[in-house]
Amino acid sequence: MRKRKLIDLARPSRQHWLGYILLAPAVILVAAIIAYPLLISIDISFQDVKLPRMGAARKPFTLENYQDLFSSPEFWHTCWVTLKLVVVVTTACLAVGLATALLVNNRFRGRRIARLAVALPWAVPEVIATVIFAWIFDSSFGLMGWLFIKLGLANQMVAWFSDTTAAFWVVATTMVWKGYPFVSIMCLAGLQSIPEDFYNAAKVDGASALQRLRWITIPSLMPVLGVTMVLVVLWVFRDFSIIKVLTDGGPLKATQTLSIMTYNEAFGFFKFGYASAVGVITLLLCVIASMAMLGRGSKAMY
């Protein structure tokens, strides 16, 4: 038999081997740093673990964490807060994002700059955005309190972060400001892919600007809007830094989402098993929600 190279990747019958070799590093890394930790967290969610040690003896299997969770009013309250925040922030982000995108999609001089400006908050790190809003809503010398007095909405400075309703709206406002630019960016990309001919044809047929928006722009944007909505929902669902820095879930857990609850149960109260159970539920809800919203179109997420 002739000697030949160990793996001759140029041979047509061997070419797909290269595919496996190229995929291998990703498979190994994803298995080690995502899949394996995920399995661990699912595993400890079924154990009575406080602060887990790797290599420690397994605790017996128990459903206690999930039982405690579903019978805890705090959990249901947290779900309700999360749902409220998701609905409010997603709706507002989509509205502001779409409106700004339509505005700067007009033809005018300097629209490149306007496009950059409209989506600028996207580039502000979440923690920085949070710090800015914490100062704007400062209870002693914050701008917003002063504005509320000026507008006659309040008699004195508002203690935004000690009132449950006010704190919720502060969190929502911050998230909308940080979240809408993403929608603008996506909508602008979507708007640019609508052929000019559609509009010209509609103009010839005598369609008004409003009719063109209703019957051409919005339907053409629907696929993009759908994907964008899912991504925004997932972001609000899982976001940590804005709420953690702004309110840490308070006051009275009025701004505590599932994500914050997971973190605080683990690193505030050192109940890792219980926290993992909350996290696993959050993940399940994320997967179910995005599948429900995208349906068969889930390929678009790629």
Binding site: Q15, L23, M54, L120, E126, I132, L258
Partner: protein
């Protein structure tokens, strides 16, 4: 050229008003950084600094370990971007060009990983890092940030490779290239804009992290990243808002610059998947 019409003026007025309203918080950040301490503790607030305190920037830079924080953030970002890009370029190419058995399921798994809450993954990662002694080290962030980045970059790279015609490699192989060198010498150079866009986006993802830094880095100030450092300046009772704002400017500016000058690339990466 277009004539100036009433409609045009209304459009300009609208655009300027909307931008001014939406960008006000960024303006407010700069105004606060330049304000005097007295201006920050009086109402009505000062909307235009009469006596801009540029020295606040110098003071914060000197008194707080901000250069170190920025360095730490950069190192964590460079490390995680390098690691993630290495595996996702190869994997993206493989997913784009070869019908590998199991490739589809890997793709789906990575897709699901996009939905993983960081607050769930941080729990097992903390246990693992604690047992191998990575707590407090930037390596913990390199690994943790890769879990955020890889799910995005793999699919972005696959998307870019999908736009490059297969005929290019086939031509290279007819000319005697091996499949591997066809990829390295022909496809990767063509994909450079895509690579740059993806890496930039990954950098921004890593730079924005707060959850992992907060959990894995210890109490030692010098090991903090920029985002973690600035949250500690926001005190429980008293906060020097001008100093916080000045520090925030230092931390926000790198990303703002990337965005302003390389927006085309960043946005290209962001929207690559959604337009199809």
């Amino acid at each position: 050229m277009k004539r100036i019409t009433a409609q045009n003026i209304a459009l300009y007025a609208g655009v300027i008003a909307v931008c001014a309203f939406l960008l006000f918080p960024i303006y407010w950040l700069f105004v606060t950084a330049l304000a005097t301490s007295a201006e920050l503790t009086q109402l009505p607030p000062t909307f235009w600094p009469k006596d801009p305190q540029w020295e606040t920037f110098a003071k914060v830079w000197a008194e707080r370990p901000i250069p170190l924080w920025l360095l730490n953030s950069t190192l964590a970002a460079v490390g995680s971007v390098a690691l993630s890009m290495f595996v996702s370029v190869l994997a993206g190419y493989s997913l784009s060009r070869f019908s590998v058995r199991g490739g589809h399921s890997l793709g789906l798994f990575i897709l699901t990983a996009k939905m993983l809450p960081a607050t769930l993954l941080v729990i097992p990662l903390f246990s693992i890092f604690r047992s191998v002694g990575l707590i407090g080290s930037l390596w913990s962030l390199v690994i943790a940030h890769s879990t955020l980045i890889i799910p995005f970059t793999t699919w972005m790279m696959k998307g870019y490779f999908d736009t490059i015609p297969r005929e290019l490699e086939q031509a290279a192989m007819v000319d005697g290239c091996s499949p591997l060198s066809a990829m390295v010498r022909v496809i990767l150079p063509i994909a450079t804009p895509g690579l740059a866009a993806t890496a930039l986006y990954a950098f921004v993802l890593s730079w924005a992290d707060y959850a992992y830094a907060r959990t894995f880095l210890t109490n030692e100030q010098g090991s903090w990243t920029a985002n973690l450092g600035i949250t500690t300046m926001k005190g429980e009772y008293v906060t020097d808002w001008n100093e916080v704002a000045a520090a925030a400017v230092f931390i926000a500016v790198p990303i703002l610059i990337i965005y302003l000058f390389l927006e085309r690339y960043l946005v290209g990466g962001l929207t690559a998947g959604a337009e199809k």
